[in-house]
């Protein structure tokens, strides 16, 4: 009997939601586990890193890696799993585009460590201890991974074969992807395993989207009673459907919430945030500069709204650190 294909799962900088999506396959997971051997899945099964290291290179057929890359350990695991796998799939927004952890690229590493370990109201740290990467005690040396200065998407670290978008990808998208990749006709390398069309195309409210939209500013979901039938953009809500790839069956819109852009851009767009900004700003009705500024102030957090899932893979990738020159001259205190 032929060996079953080997599959691995791993997580890096992520929340665990992608793992949930796999468990949400419910009884379908039995079909998958009947068809494949899972050889590594730290969340659910007791395999260790050394088990992966002991494997022959390229002996895992598919590795699904979720989460962005933020630490040296995550980077090492990405390299290791790349070497051991025939196909490496970036699973979920974080791995695909940087995801919500990618918004940390608006801050530098020192600011993040300060906020988390010294300044947050719930922190009690009178000795002002910051995590150290090396520690010696009684002749034993302990090491922790280094927090890298930027969050990166998986393909900014290693070669990636496929992307499965979404935060998280729906169980159906995951199932379809597994069936496709285990089948005989696999898509060209680099494909995003979701339809290459905007979410609006598959939105159940598509017919209520006006031909020409003109808005006097935007509203946030808690500020209005949202009609359950009408196009959310037409109601003045910041819905990212026009600049976001479909495939999720508009689950958020079906739940009466605007699309926040998790499936990333279509293949024709480089920078999802810029594209959405372009499309939405143009809808503002005013022709007067001051009034435009006032109406656009109804988007309180442009980067967080338009780049919620894609900052590390955007054209600029991270905020420029103005304090950088000083930090270097001060001896790079780390």
């Amino acid at each position: 009997m032929l060996d079953k294909p080997k599959i691995a799962f791993y997580w890096c900088a992520s929340c665990g939601g992608c793992e949930e999506a796999i468990v949400d396959l419910a009884e379908n997971i039995l079909d998958i586990s009947a068809a494949v051997d899972i050889v590594f899945w730290p969340v659910a099964m007791d395999f260790k890193r050394r088990d992966v290291e002991a494997r022959v290179d390229a002996s895992i057929q598919i590795t699904f890696l979720n989460g962005a890359i933020r630490t040296t350990e995550q980077e090492e695991m990405a390299w290791l799993l790349r070497a051991k796998s025939q196909l490496l799939v970036a699973l979920g927004s974080c791995s695909h585009l940087g995801g919500i952890p990618g918004l940390a690229n608006l801050f530098d590493r020192h600011e993040i460590l300060r906020a988390a370990y010294l300044e947050s109201p719930s922190t009690v740290n009178p000795e002002r201890t910051l995590p150290r990467t090396k520690y010696r005690d009684n002749g034993h040396s302990v090491e922790l991974p280094v927090l890298e200065s930027s969050v990166r998407s998986l393909d900014q670290v290693v070669d990636v074969d496929y992307y499965l978008p979404g935060c998280p990808p729906t169980p159906r998208m995951f199932l379809t992807a597994v069936q496709t990749l285990l089948g005989n006709e696999i898509p060209p390398k680099g494909s995003v395993l979701a339809p290459d069309r905007a979410l609006c195309e598959e939105c159940p409210r598509k017919d209520s989207k006006p031909e020409a939209l003109s808005l006097d500013g935007f509203k946030r979901p808690h500020q209005v009673l949202i009609d359950e039938e009408t196009c959310l953009l037409a109601q003045g809500l910041l819905c990212l459907g026009p600049a976001t790839r479909g495939g999720c069956e508009a689950l958020c819109v079906q739940g009466n919430m605007p699309c926040s852009g998790c499936c990333g851009p279509t293949s024709r767009v480089k920078d999802q945030g810029a594209k959405m900004l372009s499309s939405l700003a143009a809808l503002i009705s005013s022709k007067d500069a001051d009034e435009i500024v006032r109406l656009l102030a109804t988007v309180p957090d442009p980067v967080g709204s338009f780049y919620r899932y894609c900052l590390p893979s955007s054209l600029l990738r991270r905020r420029r650190s103005p304090a950088k020159a000083e930090a270097v001259s001060a001896g790079g205190a780390r």
Binding site: L106, T133, V146, E148, S149, S150, V269, K270, D271, G273, A274, K275, L277, S278, L280, A281, A282, I284, S286, K287, A289, I292, V293, L296, V299, P302, V303, F306, S314, L315, L316, R317, R318, R319, R320, S321, P322, K324, G332, R334
Partner: protein
């Protein structure tokens, strides 16, 4: 980078690189007029002709910054004069929102500019470009691509 290009470096000879998107119907003609009138102005702007300031996708602006521009200038028709009725208003709305994004990303306000310049205003091309070049020169190089390498080098050293 070709050797005859002004280079963005921390040396004393910093010459700002400005990417200028000029509307075909107004600012581009104004630049033409400035040329035929033999006006002299800073040679730092790389002019890209577009059919309308409304054609300038914010992605173009970000791409320019990400690939070494120190400043981005958009020249469009005065309000009410757009060849396509509304294009310059769209540019104006995008400009104001994009400016906020750039600010959050740590790019100074003076590096991104939108000006209305009609075909008759050759002198305005000269004065606005000169003014922007001086302001960007005072800010120094943006060096976005280099900065990325710096960050990675810092990681490698960590």
């Amino acid at each position: 980078m070709p050797e005859n290009q002004p280079t963005s470096s921390l040396s004393d000879h910093f010459e700002p690189r400005i990417v200028a998107f000029f509307c075909n119907w107004c600012t581009y003609l104004a630049a033409d007029l400035a040329g035929t009138s033999r006006m002299k102005y800073a040679p730092n702007a790389r002019v890209i002709r577009v059919m309308c300031s409304g054609r300038v996708d914010p992605q173009f602006v970000l791409d320019a910054f990400a690939h070494g521009a120190d400043g981005v200038f958009i020249g469009g028709c005065h309000p009410g004069d757009c060849h396509y009725q509304e294009g310059n208003y769209k540019a104006l709305r995008r400009y104001h929102l994009l400016k906020r994004v750039l600010k959050e990303m740590g790019i100074e306000e003076e590096r991104f500019r939108l000006e209305w310049i009609s075909a008759a205003e050759g002198d305005r091309v000269r004065s606005t470009i000169n003014d922007m070049v001086e302001k960007v020169r005072a800010l120094g190089p943006l060096d976005w691509g280099l900065r990325e390498e710096e960050v990675l080098a810092e990681e490698a050293a960590a």
